[in-house]
Amino acid sequence: MRTSTRKRYRNIIESDLEIMPLMNLFVAMIPMLLISAVFLNVTVINMKAPPDSADANESNNKRENLALAITIKDNYFVVEGRKIQKSVIARSDADAEVQLAAALANVVATHPDNQDVMIISQPDTQYGDIVAVMDVSRESGLPSVSLLGVE
């Protein structure tokens, strides 16, 4: 009896699991997926272009109410508009953005139906700074932003 079971076990062919084809699949798929994987979350800010003379009249009619503008100068931000007290915020302050947000929130509180703001930049204003100001205005309740330049 014992010898017969031993014989049966010896007849069983041992074979390793064939992993190589599966490895081929991984070697092909993983680099492709890694390359197309989203590690940086690219988002967008939708814009209105700086108006040229033809469009300026039309959009000015709508903005005639408040004409809220944030001017970015080298050393300070200026928030001004019709019926709005002009405020000047020094950019060198550590909490300049907080002050700017507070000024804008004030404007939104007193004029809740206005959603437009114009950001007036100098030719050498950095793009990163403009995006930061756009962020502050969006978060203060002014989602509709236009970019203008000083001629």
Binding site: V42, T43, V44, I45, S121, P123, T125, Y127, G149
Partner: protein, 163 residues
């Protein structure tokens, strides 16, 4: 004693098959994770290498659009350099001629394709601007003006979303 020291110990080569089980575990998990993120989001807009996008709290997902990249001294459209930043900024004219020509070409092609598709698709002038955070407003203003004049009025600025 002497005999024992003289006896050479033969080392028999032992054949051990390569154990791939743990590597398979890693690869399986990695593959499943990447498949999951690929299926959910896909890749609509690839950041162009060389452009250091500014960060923003915006969370609007990008849509497929013509891509204009502005970094260092070049303005690139869909992978080709079309203008130089310094030349464009030096000119008092807001229009960048070479970029306008390329945009006009692209617009004509897109309108023809829309016409072939029998009016189901309308030409949407969508353009996405990927600008390095250090560029000046002067070149951005000129690029945006050129896009509007060439019929691409739906402009979005690409940024890195931070929560």
């Amino acid at each position: 004693m002497v005999g024992k020291r003289n006896r050479r110990i033969k080392i028999r080569s032992v054949h051990t098959p390569l154990r791939l089980t743990s590597m398979m575990d890693i690869l399986t998990v990695l593959l499943l994770f990447l498949l999951k993120s690929f299926v959910v989001e896909g890749e609509v807009m690839t950041p162009i290498p060389g452009v250091d996008l500014p960060e923003s709290t915006s969370d609007t997902t990008p849509r497929a659009a013509v891509v204009i990249a502005i970094f260092d001294d070049s303005v690139m459209m869909d992978g080709d350099v079309v203008a130089s930043v310094s030349a464009a900024v030096a000119s008092p004219d807001l229009l960048i001629e070479s970029l306008a020509a390329r945009l006009d070409e692209a617009r004509v092609k897109a309108e023809e394709i829309a016409r072939y598709r029998g009016g189901e698709e309308v030409f949407e002038g969508k353009v996405s601007i990927q600008g390095d955070r250090d560029i000046n407003f002067a070149i951005l203003q000129r690029v945006m003006f050129t896009c509007t004049v060439s019929g691409y009025e739906d402009i979005s600025l690409a940024v890195i979303g931070t929560s």
